[in-house]
């Protein structure tokens, strides 16, 4: 039998129109990702490299125009890959020529309608999402217990209030909230940020989804709480065997939790593969961007002779005016004279290193 991964994203493109600049911002520009059942995928990259937009596109949460355009998001539903963007491409007309968009139009209303149809059984039931700011993501006027019970009643077999409440309390206990019976009655504003994130995780898991997307779950929390949340996620992973996509620019979080890592920059995946291979970053099998990212982690071993921490020069790629060559070329310090001409003019494909490790860089061209 053919092996089917839980989620496979193929050539996903999400563009936005900036009326101020009269141009298209290409936030996600041809992303391919694969998530195996039971594993954890970490997505790293600087702010503005398209990590969150990729996941929001997957969940169908992009509302700005034109938004998601093309691509496939294949979700494994009982052995069959089902495309979550099924039948949507017919509403988009896109013509582009080597980085320049010639024509783009999208029937937003028909698109939305079709998308609601596709996503109806997926959101919450099969894919849950945790957001960055848990307090903002919860209804401020409803107790957390009620919000969790609502999810349970909506997505699981349990329909009556009392058993939903019991289940919600057991979930609150599971995410290690102290005296869950009492916290059940609390409003989000009555909880601290860390507890709120725990409640949010409980809410996301209470529908027993097959995939959990965590969009920077630890940002906005202080360091001690961050490590506790990471510990909790680690524990839940081993206990429940849940598949997780973890978006973060905090590499230490990714190192602790992820099995495989994808490094994103300028709306494209520059490197992906098993966590130990990608995050080891040895000279001969690592993308220059990954190396630069890892070198800029505040760590004693990274400080140079002058006592300074290396930073990546330049700014994050402006995805409006894309050059033809490699996206990282302008900030790259590692290119050699042999590959420079190619870096300038041609976009590198993903070169296969060993096993599942891929790198998008001309340095690793074979032959």
């Amino acid at each position: 039998m053919e092996h089917i991964p839980l989620l496979q994203i193929e050539d996903l493109r999400t563009y936005f129109y900036s009326s101020a600049k009269q141009a298209f911002i290409r936030s996600v520009d041809g992303v391919d990702l694969t998530i195996e059942q039971g594993s954890t995928l970490g997505i790293v990259g600087e702010s503005g490299s398209g990590k969150s937009i990729t996941m929001l596109s997957t969940m169908g949460l992009i509302s700005a125009n034109p938004g998601v355009l093309t691509g496939k998001v294949l979700l494994n539903q009982k052995g069959n890959p089902v495309n979550l963007l099924e039948g949507l491409e017919q509403y988009v007309e896109l013509e582009h020529n080597s980085g320049k968009i010639l024509k783009l139009s999208k029937d937003n209303r028909a698109w939305k309608k079709q998308q609601e149809k596709n996503m109806a059984t997926v959101r919450g039931k099969q894919i849950s999402m945790i957001f960055q700011n848990p307090k903002a993501a919860m209804n401020p006027y409803e107790t957390i217990g009620k919000q969790i019970s609502e999810m349970i009643k909506l997505h699981t077999e349990i329909k009556d209030n009392n058993s939903a409440k019991e289940k919600a309390i057991s979930w609150l206990e599971r995410v290690k909230i102290d005296s869950p019976g009492m916290r059940f009655e609390n409003y989000p504003h009555g909880l601290s940020g860390g507890m709120c994130q725990r409640a949010m995780i409980a809410m996301a898991l209470s529908s027993e989804p097959s995939l959990l997307i965590a969009d920077e779950p630890t940002t906005g929390l202080d360091a001690t709480i961050q490590s506790k949340i990471v510990e909790l996620l680690q524990e839940l992973q081993t206990d429940l065997g849940i598949t997780t996509i973890l978006i973060s620019h905090d590499i230490s979080v990714i190192t602790k939790l992820a099995d495989s890592v994808a490094v994103m920059y300028g709306g494209k995946v520059l490197e992906n593969g098993p966590a130990e291979l990608v995050l080891k970053a040895n000279e001969d099998a690592s993308h220059p961007y990954t190396r630069a990212l890892l070198a800029s982690i505040p760590d004693l071993s990274n400080v140079d002779a002058n006592g300074r921490l290396p930073a990546i020069p330049g700014e994050v790629l402006d995805t409006i005016n894309l050059t033809q060559g490699c996206r990282f070329y302008a900030r790259c310090e590692k290119f050699t004279t042999q590959c420079e001409s190619k870096c300038k003019t041609q976009e590198p494909p993903l070169f296969r290193m060993d096993g599942k490790h891929h790198i998008r860089c001309w340095l690793f061209e074979k032959g």
Binding site: M129, E142, K176, G190, S207
Partner: protein
């Protein structure tokens, strides 16, 4: 062994499980209690009037006791120039605005919520249309509009209250819209969609019921105060409820002719009633606003 989770670094708001009335300030509590007393008085009086349990018949003229002062000849508030019992007429006067006021509240709240949701949740072209419509209503002087309607139709209090309801709808719409935009910016709506909640449930339950119910309640109390003021001022001018049907407005008006002769009570009693009632509804709205809207912080 039983496991216990102790989290020393994460704090909990100790007050959030206390009942609301224990955490709010005293002055708000006084406002609300006074407002509720006024509301209760109005409701009880309305019930008494509807059941016709009155001290005396409001329309029967006691020609031997015209213009008697309060607390004389068995009349608690005295009588007016035709010898009719003022207390009974005050109680019956509530009927002039109570049900029409509820109608106007109903119209303004339902229409306002629909407009607010359409413009806040939907956005885009719908928003501009609703905005345009709101501005159109807002820019037209309300009293002139009401007088226009009275001129076009008969001076019927229900028609007046429909106009009042329509013209207050933009205020409610603006508040609901603001709340939705606030929630959207906090990515609460987005997370609700991601959790797989159906759209109608997000709008009706989470936005309208949980987040807007206090706004709507406050607007309802203010709407009642507004309805009383509009009804009494129109009746005072002779455009609203017509004699011999009593209304607080036309009672003030008919009593005011005798004010200079020293018979102050026929117009003072309904005027004070208007003052106390409108003040009560306003303070109720104010107190509720402070207590319910502050809860979130």
């Amino acid at each position: 062994m039983k496991t216990r989770y102790i989290q020393t670094t994460e704090t909990i708001d100790e007050y959030s499980h206390l009942p609301l009335w224990k955490t709010c300030s005293k002055i708000d509590l006084i406002y609300i209690v006074y407002g509720l007393l006024v509301l209760a008085t109005v409701l009880v009086s309305y019930g008494l009037g509807a059941l016709n349990w009155l001290p005396s018949d409001p329309d029967s003229m006691d020609l031997e006791n015209m213009m008697v002062a309060p607390l004389t000849s068995g009349y608690f508030l005295g009588t007016d120039y035709m010898g009719r019992d003022l207390l009974s007429r005050l109680i019956i006067g509530i009927q002039a605005y109570f049900v029409p006021g509820l109608l106007s509240i109903f119209i303004s709240l339902s229409l306002g919520s629909i407009m607010g949701i359409l413009s806040g949740y939907q956005g885009g072209r719908v928003e501009s249309v609703v905005e345009y419509f709101s501005n159109l209503i807002d820019s037209f002087p309300r009293l002139v509009l009401i007088l226009l309607f009275i001129a076009a139709f008969t001076p019927n209090i229900y028609i007046i209250m429909i106009v009042v309801g329509l013209t207050t709808a933009p205020v409610v719409a603006g508040l609901v819209r603001g709340k939705i935009l606030f929630l959207k910016q906090r990515n609460f709506v987005e997370s609700a969609i991601a959790m797989g909640l159906p759209t109608y449930q997000i709008i009706l339950k989470h936005i309208l019921w949980y987040n807007c119910r206090s706004i709507l309640l406050i607007q309802a109390t203010l709407g009642m105060a507004e309805a009383i003021l509009i009804e009494t001022s129109l009746s005072y001018l002779g455009f609203g409820v017509q004699e011999p049907v009593p209304s607080w407005g036309n009672m003030v008006q008919s009593g005011s002719n005798y004010l200079m002769q020293g018979n102050f009570w026929p117009s003072t009693a309904p005027a004070l009633a208007i003052l106390a009632t409108v003040l009560g509804f306003h303070l109720l709205g104010d107190g509720l606003n402070n207590v319910l809207e502050r809860k979130e912080r």
